[in-house]
Amino acid sequence: MSRILAVIKKEFLQMRRDRLTLGIVFALPLVQLLLFGYAIQTEVKHISTVVFDQSLSPESRDLTDSFTASGYFDVTSTANSYTAVTRMIDSGQAKVGIIYPPDFAENLKKGVPAQVQVVVDASDNMVASQAVAVANSIGLIKSQQVLFQRARLQSAPYDVRVRPWYNPDGITAYYMVPAILGIIVTMTMVMMTSVAIVRERERGTLEQLIVTPLKSYELMIGKVAPSIVLGYAQITVALLVGALVFRVPIRGSLLQLYLLTLFFITASLGLGVLISNIAKTQMQAMQMSFFVLLPSILLSGFMFPREAMPKVIYYIGAVIPLTYYLQIIRGIVLKGIGFPYLIGQVTALLIFSAIFMGIAILKFQKKIA
């Protein structure tokens, strides 16, 4: 025990001297949250739109107004030929083109389907799907109004009422901030620990430690324990920014969040220790960390919903600790649920921690070769 404490004390002393790393550890959650929190908006509004109106009628203007009133489309220019529309979308000046044929108003009056063409730049998937969905529903709503008038109806036959729970206003930050917190913690933990042991090996101090009575598990615990403290410090900073800047409501128990986070930290640390046992140089350790972190970001459900992934990829996501932590933190912060609903996720993180740490301690034998 006293040897573990000695290693912990030494680690803290070294940490304190390494101002740059320490600065990064605290600045990371701050900067990343502000950047990501503001920049990542999955809801795309104000899409630049070009209108080519050959009808020039009150009806066509009315429909165009409906598009702008939705908030999704900003009519930034008008065109007077089909090629002009093409040019604007090709050049990126507009993402959406609305084209009214000359007979638009007449058809509408006659009761013949009045065609409107909406061209969407689908090279950006996010923008396209949003534009397509909104354009379609505008079409439907406008048709509905006309049909109501003709049929003299007061209300629609179906009354579907959708209630988005937990985040009724669909605020992206609520969804993103807890997830970013997970990313930041796993990133810091994996990188810091993976480099920590390799650095000792590179500088020759590991050889010196191996000839002392220090046992491998004592070294591992001593190396890892200070990082846990650091991880919690990061989470606190991130939660404060989330709550104060983005007004993310923390609906569940903060105590539970802190307790359950421990298993995520240990799983990340275990991964870092494992990497440090395989890597020969600090450079290799860094590269391996990136190799591990990128799938975490892409496949955990942070960026893209896992439900949409092919089965194989879905299962790869199931062996990533972040996947489970995202469910835990979104669950506690947004849904206000607690441990009883999260037993599965916590068990998964515990298993990860045990496997990573176990392999790392077994692999790290007190031998040079």
Partner: protein, 314 residues
């Protein structure tokens, strides 16, 4: 498995370590008594470091057996570690910690009781000549101080045996001498010191020398005995003008075993003392009998081992 009892600090039998097809240490059998300074002497890559690492229990031998302080190096390496001090050629200190913090850390690892600790650390600081500089970061120390501090960290727990792997590489001659005085002081206290070196002057100060070349132990004895016995013949010194040009002539003589240039002088190894007169007759200068240096001994031993192995190119 008792080898040669507890009276030996180090005892090995046919200790061997292979790295793939390369044999770094080849069937080394040796006994080193307690309280001795034993120098491992040999060129780079001879197998000195590998031998030391095996004895410290941080590298597993391929075959053979060995014990340190009576503990088996295979099975009881953790026991050995409590009683040994080790210093590698890299002075493995934490550069971002202060002198005092480095010593603190190692005292804690060896679990030196709290009441002894500050006294012990002060002792090490004094030994390293770092009194008053305890708060300085190691990164700011120069070679000699780093070296003595590394030694301090290695011996803060008062080990019974110390392994020093080329501890004086890269420090000034003054620091080297100072360092060796410290080592001699430790040996006087009864601590066994094993020191790898390739400096002959350091080897001269060892109680015993193990000559290691190509992974094999060529000889293990005191410097004086080695000088007296390792050479097969009678060594003389000649002061001849243009000596270099005469080496060929002298070596061609039937009673001359070897002739080499040492500065302005020639060292000639004769068959026996009685040949001195013949040499004087041939060269016209009186040869002076000399005690061989360790370098002479090493050259002769290495040559003999090459001849025995049949790999001597000449």
């Amino acid at each position: 498995m008792s080898l040669s009892g507890d009276d030996q600090a180090v005892s090995t039998r046919n200790l061997t370590r292979k790295f793939g097809s390369f044999t770094a240490v080849d069937q080394v059998t040796m006994d080193i008594g307690r309280g001795e300074i034993c120098g491992f002497l040999g060129p780079n890559g001879a197998g000195k470091t590998t031998t030391i690492r095996m004895l410290c229990g941080i590298l597993a031998p391929t075959s053979g057996s060995g014990s340190v302080l009576g503990y088996d190096i295979f099975r009881e390496s953790e026991q050995i570690k409590k009683h040994l001090g080790y210093m590698s050629q890299k002075f493995s200190l934490y550069e971002d910690l202060s002198v005092r913090e480095n010593l603190d850390f190692y005292s804690a690892l060896y679990e030196i009781p709290g009441r002894d600790r500050s006294g012990r650390i002060a002792e090490m600081v004094a030994m390293a000549g770092l009194a008053g500089r305890e708060r300085e970061l190691v990164a700011n120390l120069s070679g000699g101080w780093k070296q003595r501090l590394a030694l301090g960290c290695a011996i803060v727990a008062r080990p019974s045996i110390i392994f020093l792997d080329e501890p004086t590489s890269g420090v000034s001659p003054t620091s080297r001498r100072h360092f060796f005085n410290i080592i001699q002081g430790l040996a006087n206290q009864g601590i066994t010191v094993i020191v790898a070196t390739h400096f002959m002057d350091e080897a001269e100060r060892c109680g015993k020398i193990a000559f290691i070349s190509n992974g094999r132990l060529l000889a293990l004895d005191s410097p004086d005995r080695l000088k007296a016995t390792a050479l097969d013949g009678w060594l003389v010194e000649l002061e001849v003008a243009g000596g270099v040009n005469r080496i060929g002539d002298i070596e061609a003589l039937p009673y001359v075993r070897e002739c080499s240039l040492h500065g302005p002088l020639l060292h000639v190894l004769l068959e026996s003392e009685s040949r001195m007169a013949s040499l004087e007759g041939f060269i016209g200068v009186a040869p002076r009998p000399i005690t061989p240096s360790l370098e002479d001994v090493f050259i002769a031993l290495a040559k003999r081992s090459r001849v025995a192995a049949g790999t001597d190119g000449v």
